[in-house]
Subunit: 236 residues, 2 copies
DNA sequence: ACCTGAACACCGTTCAAGT
DNA sequence: ACCTGAACACCGTTCAAGT
């Protein structure tokens, strides 16, 4: 569908001459798709305006007819990425379970797009309809369960903070907490690290599940709540 | 004390000629102090190797005799910044209170140094003795209260994730959640936002305190804050 | 309106030359 | 060992010129 300018009978690169093309080559959707292609194939460090232009077969300056800055391109990418977050549980499964699905998918999505986190954490959400609709779903879920209105936004923000922090943590090397030569000076921590290691569970996943459980319990109460979800819970 | 080469009888900038100076001008401590000076006066975007060199009165390339990269300089800054985190409560005040002081100071410190978060979240901690000592204090605090060893590290990581996420959130504009023109399509969320606003409390602070309370309750149990050991949690 | 190509003002980093 | 100064390979972004 992407109407790439086909080679004009030769074998050379399909170079365009200067001047306005008869039909526009670029638009927001194509730029976003190309950006995501680069990111998934070569990672965020490879996402430069030059690389993006190259992927699209245009010169870098052409991008500035559509985006006013690289930041804006990143916002488009974020909006697209948000579609991977699962907000479908609210109103359909017990609240605790809906929140759990939402939080897990949200964290998984941003673990794959960690460099977006510092951007989106500070970005006015008015520019992202998808994010706003997500907030509405969560707010409905809480409201239906009788939450006081003024407690809803802080709860969402608190969960989101935990989710973003956990997504960053998920990108850390497995041995990030290794104390190295200092181990002997830190007996309790070193022992705890070894004990965790011995469980064989991924440290980031374990921490996320423990924290999410704690947060949900603290926010919703410890009740029998949603019939405890699918994944395993940490051992006693 | 910093032995700046005095002007040699003239009024011009005290420029050094090439060649090894009789006593070294730079060291890790001075570089770190200069970096923090730039950050506190002009923010992280102003912290370039060129600006740092200028602040220290050397040429940019001189920095590479001491640091192998800008990343390394940022690690020195992080190590220094960690001294602002309060881990003194463990073993001296009730655990819940010690954790609360620790978390608050940790979040406040990194709210002032948000650009460090993506760096430190992924950095092997072996390079930061101060961070390791902090972990040991927290681990001791949990261990003393009877926590199972394998649960200690996940709890610390979960708290840290929430703290980092909250520190990022604390740097967001106050109206970041404003739905703008979409408000009418999001009645529940918009209402919740207005209700929160009406309380007059800062949204980031409110979310942090709510989340911290929830997390501590979920982790420690809802008890009178004292010696709840590990697992169970009382009423709804 | 929307493209090219040249140019700009930066970045972090390297390296020969100096003492 | 530790500095200077020139140079390199990038960045994102601007803008005149073209159609």
């Amino acid at each position: 569908m992407s109407v790439p300018p086909k080679a004009d009978g030769g074998t050379a690169v399909p170079r365009r001459r200067a001047g306005r093309p008869s039909n526009a080559v670029l638009d927001r959707a194509h730029i976003t798709t190309a950006a995501l292609g680069i990111v998934s194939e070569r990672g965020y460090p490879a996402l430069t305006m030059a690389a993006l232009a190259r992927q699209l077969g245009v010169s870098p300056s052409a991008l500035y007819n559509h985006a006013s800055s690289k930041q804006e391109v990143l916002q488009w990418v974020q909006e697209r990425v948000m579609s991977g977050v699962d907000s479908t549980g609210f109103g359909r499964v017990p609240l605790r379970e809906a929140l759990r699905r939402w939080a897990r998918s949200y964290r998984d999505v941003f673990a794959e797009h960690a460099p977006l986190i510092p951007v989106v954490a500070v970005l006015p959400v008015a520019g992202s309809p998808r994010t706003l609709r997500m907030y509405e779903s969560v707010a409905e879920g809480l409201s239906t369960e009788g939450w006081h209105p003024e407690r809803i936004v802080p709860a969402i923000v608190a969960l989101e903070s935990f989710i973003f922090g956990s997504a960053l943590d998920a990108t850390a090397p497995l041995d990030i907490l290794d104390p190295g030569q200092h181990a002997s000076a830190l007996p309790v921590f070193a022992g705890a690290l070894e004990a965790q290691r011995a469980t064989g569970a991924g440290p980031a996943d374990t921490a996320f599940e423990l924290g999410l459980d704690a947060l949900l319990t603290g926010l919703l109460g410890a009740g029998e709540a949603g019939q405890e979800s699918g994944r395993e819970s940490p051992p006693a």
